[in-house]
């Protein structure tokens, strides 16, 4: 089966795809590889999802495997858990970040805890895809970054892809993972393109961060939509050589890659769209500080959303970290 498929896929090798299409191709491959994989969510079938990420998959794999569900997020996750108990590997789509909260109970008290509850007897290979982040001029609840709610939840793995190549591979790794995975997709990067070698196997392990731009003077840590922003900031900064790390995995954190970098540069700025207050940046800053205490020339600084609900779209450029705000933090870390 896998053999056969690899051939199919080989034919399409090294295509240029958007991030959305890359996810689509990754899920197509997962569906073809393993008959137990199913997709569940609102509008994922005929419509192919509001961002067309599941476009064509219902047509190809049928209504039993790409399931348009009633409108209830708790039930999407709750029934996915039941399907997993029957041996399936559901990929659930939450239509927008802000709509994951009705499912919080099923995710936090059931999905995350069931493997430990069963002392390992139960496996929960459920993937929850969440388009996240702002910058698309949307109305309330459509631009949020709720990752910190899930990184604080033991039993979940949390990952974020930032580019089409990772999107293609990471979604497949998530499906293969025996643990439940919260899979964040940077919605404003859905239309970013890259050439992807569709054959072969994943170039980077699922639980590793990647240095996407080497540098010597300070380390920028980011994930999801902010990776591109940090890369642009690093390019724009003519006075410093900035290293940019794409965290990719948020729980667990690949601290090896992070600490190695900060121990080298002595300076660190963490960037995420979620509110700084109580956000994942605090966790990372605390760990970096503990591990690199004597190498730090300045405290780890954080750039992120404010302690406000995501604002109306006419204000979102103020809310979202951008190149200038990143460089402002970089400057502050050098001025410390």
């Amino acid at each position: 089966m896998t053999e056969l498929l690899s051939d199919d896929v080989q034919g399409q090798s090294a295509q240029t795809l958007t991030l959305a299409k890359a996810l689509n191709a990754g899920m197509r491959r997962a569906l073809a590889d393993d008959p137990q994989v199913v997709i569940m969510g609102e509008d994922v079938g005929k419509l192919g999802g509001v961002f067309r990420v599941t476009d064509g998959l219902q047509k190809e794999f049928g209504e039993d495997r790409v399931i348009d569900t009633p409108l209830a997020e708790s039930a999407i996750i709750g029934t996915a858990i039941g399907m997993a108990l029957r041996g399936y590997r559901p990929i659930c789509e939450i239509q927008f970040d802000g709509f994951v909260f009705p499912a919080a109970d099923q995710i936090i008290t059931q999905l995350a805890k069931m493997p430990a509850r069963s002392q390992g007897g139960i496996e929960m290979p459920v993937v929850i895809r969440i388009p996240c982040g702002g910058g698309i001029g949307a109305v309330e609840h459509h631009s949020e970054s709720p990752e910190a709610y899930f990184t604080h939840t033991a039993g979940l793995r949390v990952v974020a892809c930032s580019n089409p190549v990772d999107a293609y591979w990471m979604i497949q790794q998530a499906v293969e993972c025996p643990d439940p995975v919260i899979f964040f997709e940077p919605k404003r990067r859905y239309w970013d393109k890259a050439a992807i070698d569709l054959s072969g196997s994943a170039p980077v392990p699922f639980d590793k961060a990647v240095v996407v731009r080497p540098g010597t003077d300070a380390t920028l840590l980011a994930y999801g939509p902010m990776v591109k922003t940090c890369l642009e900031a690093a390019e724009a900064d003519e006075s410093h050589s900035l290293e940019v790390i794409d965290l990719r995995t948020l729980s667990p954190l690949d601290t090896e890659t992070i600490f190695e970098s900060v121990n080298r540069t002595g300076r660190c700025v963490i960037v995420h769209e979620a509110p700084v207050f109580g956000g994942l940046g605090g966790e990372i800053a605390a760990r970096v500080t503990e591990a690199c205490f004597y190498r730090l020339e300045a405290p780890v600084l954080r750039v992120g959303g404010f302690a406000t609900p995501y604002p109306p779209s006419r204000l979102e450029d103020h809310y979202l970290p951008d190149l200038d705000r990143v460089l402002d933090a970089v400057d502050r870390t050098f001025a410390w």
């Binding site: 609102e42 509008d43 079938g45 005929k46 419509l47 192919g48 509001v50 348009d68 569900t69 009633p70 409108l71 209830a72 708790s74 039930a75 802000g98 709509f99 909260f101 009705p102 001029g137 949307a138 109305v139 309330e140 609840h141 700084v276 207050f277 404010f306 302690a307 406000t308 609900p309 604002p311 109306p312 779209s313 006419r314 204000l315 979102e316 103020h318 809310y319 200038d324 705000r325 402002d328």
Partner: protein, 372 residues
């Protein structure tokens, strides 16, 4: 897939005005309106449709981020909207522009939300119309809690009893919150009306993805009455809603109204319904247009002449023009608006963030000699 939810339609549907404009009587829902009142309803329908169309146009031109059109649902909204008393409180979704209109909310307030100027920040008390709620189903619980408050106020603040009315769609009936609201309303006998606009679609999902039986029957399972009304019939909707509100305000508990209607347009301006539904369905529903039947009735019965219809059209056009101008003139919000209303009491970290950000912005001004 068989849509048995449709087959029962005719027998169970309350209708007072046929698609052809014929006036029917219904034993449970007598309705006597003056000629003037019926003309007013017509006016509401036409103006609401025009304003909605203007908002769609503004969205196409990039002036709004998004617009969920009510096209096809005007009668459900105007009929129910005109059934309310001044002190009733509406808990809408994001599509109740017609109800908003009836409650006296300036349409511009709704546009602000979809232009991204604010999150829909009118004063609910002023209009008896709560803020739009986007998270599907949440507001059904708010309405129920509000109704529990009404009970504790002895039903009236204002001489006549108050009631709460929650709007939601067919898709929303699958949400836990909506069903919990049914439990609570039944258990506490709360003065709340659940007004479900069954427009047959939840984005791309047809009704049979949410239910196997007609939605109004859901109420039976919780122990209160459910009724299906022709949602394209402004008279029937008005009569049915009035009755339900009366029951509520006289302590006779909740009612579920299923307004059977159709979403004639896309889910929102970003949606492409050709991907998931056939045009013949749309064509069939065009014959049941909520405005055409009132016009036919008014004409046929001699309650209105051509001049009246022209006048209304002109009024609608003028209102649309005014709306457009006001929309284009909307100022962007101040940065401080993002920070200032999160808490009423001081919040040290947020206050520091605001101060730091304002200082940061001021830095640009100093550097560049200008700023926003």
């Amino acid at each position: 897939m068989t849509i048995d939810v449709h087959s029962v339609q005719d027998a169970e549907l309350v209708q007072l005005l046929t698609p052809e404009g014929e006036r029917l009587e219904h034993p449970d829902y007598p309705l006597s309106l003056s000629d003037q009142q019926i003309r007013e309803l017509y006016r509401d329908l036409v103006v609401v449709r025009a304003l909605d169309r203007e908002a769609v146009a503004l969205t196409r031109q990039g002036e709004l981020g998004l617009w969920p059109s009510l096209l096809g649902q005007e009668a459900a909204q105007v009929g129910s909207g005109r059934a309310m008393g001044a002190h009733d409180m509406v808990f809408p979704t994001y599509r109740e522009h017609g109800v908003a209109f009836c409650r006296g909310l300036p349409f511009l307030e709704i546009l602000k939300m979809f232009r991204g100027v604010n999150h829909g920040s009118w004063d609910p008390k002023e209009f008896g119309f709560h803020l739009y709620t986007i998270v599907i189903g949440s507001q059904a619980l708010h309405a129920t809690g509000y109704a529990m408050g009404i009970q504790r106020d002895g039903f009236q603040e204002n001489g006549i009893g108050d009631a709460a009315i929650a709007y939601f769609g067919d898709g929303a009936t699958s949400q836990g919150d909506v069903n919990e609201a049914f439990v609570w309303a039944a258990v506490y006998n709360a003065p709340v009306v659940f007004f479900c606009q069954n427009n047959q679609w939840a984005i791309s999902e047809p009704l049979e993805r949410q239910t196997k039986i007609p939605l109004y029957r859901r109420a039976q399972g919780f122990g209160f009455p459910g009724i299906r009304v022709d949602g394209n019939d402004v008279l029937a909707t008005l009569a049915v809603t009035r009755r339900a509100l009366d029951l509520a305000r006289t302590g006779q508990g909740p009612t579920l109204i299923e307004a059977f209607t159709y979403r004639m347009g896309a889910h929102t301006t970003t949606d492409d319904p050709t991907r998931y539904r056939h045009s013949d369905e749309l064509e069939a529903w065009k014959l049941k247009d909520p405005i055409a039947r009132v016009k036919a009735y008014l004409s046929r019965s001699g309650l209105a002449v051509a001049d009246f219809f022209d006048e209304v059209d002109a009024e609608a056009k003028a209102a649309s023009r005014t709306l457009r101008e006001a929309c284009l003139a909307l100022p962007d919000p101040a940065v401080s608006a993002m920070f200032e209303h999160v808490y009423r009491a001081p919040h040290q970290q947020l206050d520091e963030e605001q101060a730091a950000y304002e200082a940061y912005l001021a830095g640009f001004e100093t550097t560049a000699g200008s700023g926003d």
